[in-house]
């Protein structure tokens, strides 16, 4: 059930990134909601289950981003495992920490994409395109991380104000 939820979120992120958000952001730059979802999964899931999910998600992302099959599978899996390795030591409710993760994730994603394309594919000056877009991409990712983090917190506050028994009880682990 949780996996289905992640897949629906990924689908929504792709529709937003490919159709609904581009008119608002000129120059082809848009927030990378799939990366934000990957970081979020990294904070919540186990390496095996989350790793398989994110790798599959990367392949679907490849169908709508670029022309290199397997590229985003590799990039998102690496970002996920990095976040996963740090998740147990972090307070995931802290906004500055989320910003650090999103900022670091954006840089890691850009570096891995450039590495994978410049070293393995025949593409010239791809690094220049990435370098050109990176500041705006970073700002947008941080802004959307802030918006999503705040909306999540508001939703949880609203859910807590509802009368007891209206929502299914959360299992404490």
């Amino acid at each position: 059930m949780q996996i289905l939820g992640y897949l629906l979120l990924a689908g929504l992120a792709l529709v937003l990134q490919t159709v609904l958000l581009p008119p608002f952001f000129p120059g082809g730059i848009k927030p990378d909601l799939v990366l934000l979802l990957t970081i979020w999964i990294g904070l919540r899931e186990s390496p095996w289950r989350g790793g398989l999910l994110v790798y599959g998600l990367g392949w679907v992302y490849d169908a709508y981003a670029g022309t290199f099959p397997g590229l985003h599978g590799f990039v998102l899996l690496t970002v996920f495992l990095t976040v996963c390795g740090m998740a147990t030591r972090l307070n995931t409710e802290s906004l500055p920490l989320i910003w650090c993760l999103v900022g670091g994730g954006t840089l890691l994603q850009a570096a891995l994409t450039v590495f994978a394309i410049e070293f393995f594919a025949e593409t010239s000056r791809f690094w220049a395109v990435v370098l050109n877009c990176l500041p705006a991409q970073m700002l947008l990712n941080l802004l959307f991380a802030y918006l999503l983090h705040n909306s999540g917190r508001r939703c949880r506050q609203l859910a807590d104000q509802l009368p007891p028994g209206l929502l299914p009880r959360r299992h404490e682990s």
Partner: protein, 268 residues
């Protein structure tokens, strides 16, 4: 040794997974130019959803533009807003008609078999430049075909499913087009740089000037000869060097691309 293995087991598994993913990516690069089954499945499944979302986006954008011109008409009463929305619908149809008329003009100028397609999505990533169109191999749209609009060359089809296809734009960093500077007949290769194009292999003694037209040369057999690619935006000549640096502005406005033409294969 056992202790070390137990301590670093997770890290080693993680590294092995990343290495396997990199290897799979590397092997996938040696493709035969056909659409892989994973991408095909994703495009087939997502195509209709994107089509519906794109239809909604275009309608809302058209109505929004007409109902709230510059945000100054927020106090219109309900009836006038309804009429404006109706007019916006008509205006949207008129604009679509104009665009299709221009495409038709292109078809008349370049008598080739072609099929019109609607742009339903842009690339999901900021690093790449591709679009999705609502025509696939059932309409004759297969990998490798050229895509144009009334202004000039848009790109080529790189993935195709039954009812949707992905087009690599000429502005993508992995795109290369064999070109001719129209007046001087100087050959070169235009490579994508995200927003503009770089004309490579133009010798320093070639007399290229700002504003010169750049067209496809037909070499390589990917794009037909004579399609407008763009116009020279800037030229830099170093004192010592074999080639000059030439920047080309694409003829097509990629930010407002809504309909395109796919040039089909000529039947023998």
């Amino acid at each position: 040794m056992w202790e070390w293995w137990k301590k670093n087991r997770s890290l080693l598994f993680g590294l092995a997974l990343i290495l396997a993913a990199l290897l799979t990516y590397s092997l996938g690069l040696k493709d035969d130019g056909r659409t892989g089954w994973v991408e095909g499945l994703a495009l087939r499944t997502g195509g209709p959803v994107l089509g519906v979302a794109a239809g909604a986006r275009y309608s809302v954008a058209g109505i929004w533009d007409a109902v709230i011109p510059g945000g100054s008409s927020l106090d219109l009463d309900a009836e006038s807003r309804r009429l404006r929305a109706e007019m916006a619908g008509i205006e949207e149809l008129k604009r679509e008609n104009d665009r299709l008329r221009r495409l038709l003009g292109f078809v008349e100028e370049h008598p080739r078999r072609s099929v019109a397609a609607r742009v339903i999505a842009e690339d999901a990533s900021s690093w790449f430049r591709t679009i999705e169109i609502d025509r696939g191999y059932e309409d004759g749209v297969t990998e490798g075909l050229s895509v144009v609009d009334a202004a000039g060359l848009v790109g080529r089809v790189v993935r195709s499913t039954a009812h949707a296809a992905q087009v690599l734009l000429i502005t993508d960093a992995s795109s290369a087009v064999a070109v001719l500077v129209q007046d001087e007949r100087i050959r070169g290769v235009c490579r994508g740089q995200g927003g503009t194009l770089a004309l490579d292999f133009a010798l320093v003694q070639d007399a290229i000037q700002v504003g010169d037209g750049v067209i496809t040369s037909g070499l390589g057999g990917v794009f037909p000869k004579g399609l407008v690619v763009g116009y020279v935006r800037s030229v830099h000549r170093e004192q010592f060097g074999l080639f000059q640096t030439v920047e080309v502005e694409p003829a097509v406005d990629f930010a407002h691309l809504e309909e395109v033409l796919v040039l089909l294969k000529e039947t023998p």
